[in-house]
Symmetry: D2
Subunit: 137 residues, 4 copies
């Protein structure tokens, strides 16, 4: 799929005493961008949780190329790069002033309210098809 774009500004409380954004916060930026991506493709995570579907994080990685600073306007480009019916993988790139500053990934599964794996194809056929099509597009 083509990457979706999500923009936001760096907050003061996201910096640390090195004068840059604390590295843990990028994992939160990825989450913001991922939930925005899902909304952009018509999947509201608020609704999904209300319907009993949760999508926890199985893994993350992040590579910090250029530090981000308070006040920076960043653009996060996100895409779903894998989906096999059980697991989903997302990729992220953070740009600031047109420069690539950060890259990362997150891996996810689909669980019901009791934290049991969901057979997506049967339980959520529309979502299953949508994710399949997106990744192949």
């Amino acid at each position: 799929m083509e990457a979706t774009k999500y923009c936001r500004k760096i907050n003061y409380y996201e910096t640390d005493q090195m004068g840059i954004v604390h590295h843990s916060n990028y994992i939160r930026f990825f989450e913001e961008a991922r939930l925005d991506l899902m909304e952009q493709i018509g999947l509201s995570y608020v609704e999904m949780e209300e319907n009993g579907l949760i999508i926890p994080v199985l893994s993350v990685d992040c590579s910090y190329k250029k530090p981000l600073h308070f006040g920076d306007e960043i653009e996060i480009r996100s895409s779903i790069v894998k989906y096999d019916g059980l697991k989903m993988e997302c990729a992220y790139e953070i740009y600031c002033h047109d420069e690539l500053c950060t890259t990362g990934h997150s891996g996810h599964c689909f669980l019901d309210k009791d934290m049991k794996p969901v057979r997506m194809k049967r339980a959520y056929p529309e979502l299953y098809t949508k994710l399949k099509q997106l990744v192949e597009a």
Copy 2:
């Protein structure tokens, strides 16, 4: 009641680019100290939530007298200063190197899982009596 004591160290990620602890984190330190206080008096918040009792925060205030820094060993003295059967008020003092650095308060109520107020005297008579006694002691 006599204040309980809770000690912890300041983490790097709790600083901001001013080189001091970000002011929002003190509200988290108060929570740590309050939940520790409850354990010290025999009330486990883990168990309370499992039993369907939640104690949300109605209000907080915090006065920052001396800044805290990464690596500082702090001691938080907490006490329950008011309890009328419906609402509870806690007070906090943060010390570092025997100097008073921060003071604050938090106000709370007692709700059930549906966010409805709980009649403590009837529903949790032991807890009611314990809190009453503590405040009067």
Copy 3:
């Protein structure tokens, strides 16, 4: 002064296991709104810190009337309510779906890079006048 308006959405990572926004995060929302207010009146905090002026927080208070949830679109109305040349006080109201959910205040002083108080009238006469005028307007 008339309150400035700042809008943002509640992030997933800002919730806690009570299913609502953790109370410490409101202090961060106030900071976002305050720094936005300063930009709206022509004072960039990024520039101010670069010029050696820092505005730490002396006190905060917050009153939680209605909880906020993941996905909520909130509007924060902020204003400077006091300024005497040494200290500044800001007031905040958080609205969600046109309902007042949170109120709060923060108190501030003006320091130089060595954490010494700044004589605003002499050192930053324009900023001094601007803040004076705003509060009286």
Copy 4:
């Protein structure tokens, strides 16, 4: 090197509305454990920053095997697994009730206050030797 051990308890504010620790917080737990490791081997990060040496994070990865919950007592086992004079890599394992719940890594470089790479062998020969020996042990 043999892994150092660092213990701490999960705080309420570290949970999210899934009822488990938010995945971004593990990156903070790794930092706590890493700075504790450095102290255990005689390297105080407070002193290092005061002496003008900073150790930013170049990369992180984290694999979430079992979720952590509020109140959990966790043990983080950390070790330095690579050091070539320029870059350092640390590995982490989080245990709860003797079960491995999380694994992860972080990559680091060594910079001076102007964010320039430091020739460790020349500028900090003792630290250089210590890290070399640790990794080979």
